[in-house]
């Protein structure tokens, strides 16, 4: 009796977690409120962490929870809250005539996948590879740390450079002046109509050329005003 339960338990866990993962993944796509999608995505991450545990990979399971469900999703939810994203409205389907073709192609893809899975399962099992590590130690932190700092040291260090680049890139993107609106004077060889600087002279399209920031500021009247304020 106990023997049979220990044999069945992994299957129950697998189906429970796989069902949670697929259900949450469908909810991510089906929800029209991005915040609900984000919560569903956390469900997928937690289900996958459970599956990693059934695959004897506790380190990856914990990192999955900390990095994905913790850091990345907090960032996403933070941005959703910051931007006050509204619910996506339902739109009429464009290119309705292509729907039958899409269904046909999806059926072909599904048949292909089923064919491959069937014949892979029918094929004789390949010779099992030589175990390089003790089976019980594959997913543990010690073996992952040893791998990261010996065989895969170079990719690990390159990853740190990537993180640094992402840090600098995100900061320069999120600066308020990162993307200027087009009606601001841009130093350089920009040529703008005089109307841009002096709204009173509507219709005056005489080009004005500014090659430096101070020149542009002086032309637009900003420079003088700034100096007057300094004098006061």
């Amino acid at each position: 009796m106990f023997e049979s339960i220990t044999q069945i338990a992994p299957y129950i866990f697998f189906f429970l977690l796989a069902g949670l993962a697929i259900g949450s993944a469908i909810a991510v796509v089906a929800q029209r409120n991005p915040l609900y999608s984000a919560i569903s995505l956390i469900g997928v991450f937690v289900a996958l962490a459970g599956l990693y545990l059934t695959l004897a990979a506790p380190f990856i399971a914990v990192v999955q929870i900390i990095v994905y469900a913790g850091a990345i999703m907090v960032l996403v939810v933070f941005v959703i809250m910051l931007l006050n994203v509204e619910t996506e409205d339902r739109r009429p389907l464009r290119l309705r005539s292509l729907v039958p073709i899409a269904v046909l192609l999806a059926a072909v893809l599904f048949a292909e996948a089923a064919f491959i899975f069937y014949f892979v399962n029918e094929a004789p099992a390949p010779p099992s590879p030589v175990a390089t590590l003790n089976p019980s130690s594959v997913g543990l932190t010690a073996s992952i740390g040893a791998g990261l700092f010996t065989t895969y040291l170079l990719p690990f260090e390159i990853t740190s450079i990537l993180i640094l680049m992402a840090l600098v890139g995100a900061m320069s993107l999120a600066r308020r002046s990162a993307i200027r609106p087009t009606d601001v004077v841009v130093p350089g060889a920009a040529v703008l109509p005089r109307q841009t600087f002096e709204p009173a002279r509507v219709g005056d399209a005489t080009p004005v050329r500014a090659d430096t920031t101070t020149e542009a500021a002086a032309l637009s009247g900003l420079w003088d005003r700034a100096h007057e304020r300094e004098d006061d």
Binding site: I22, V29, V138, A166, G169, R176
Partner: protein
């Protein structure tokens, strides 16, 4: 022991749902989350192979994929913020040209 092909099938299903989401969704943040879903489906494949072949390399690769995903999240959300500030909209149809 659960067969390897079950994990691969689950991974394929999750990846397909992610692809469908990227195609269907018009909201930039929702598309971003579907990309994360696809990355996770691939991670499941890596861990399944790593566990079945008793080789730790697959899990190291998952570690690096997670790092890249974190970097992608930072830069991607920065781009989404910049687009929203410029266009007051997160709809990707409104951002279909590279011009400002």
């Amino acid at each position: 022991m659960i067969p390897l092909s079950w994990y691969l099938a689950l991974s394929a299903v999750l990846f397909t749902i992610g692809v469908a989401g990227v195609i269907i969704k018009r909201n930039a943040i929702a598309m971003f989350m579907c990309i994360e879903l696809m990355l996770n489906a691939v991670n499941l494949t890596f861990v399944a192979f790593s566990s079945f072949f008793r080789d730790v390399s697959g899990q190291l690769f998952v570690f690096i994929v997670m790092t890249v995903a974190a970097a992608e999240a930072a830069v991607g959300l920065g781009i989404i913020l910049a687009i929203f500030r410029n266009r007051e909209s997160l709809d990707v149809d409104d951002a279909s040209v590279m011009k400002l």
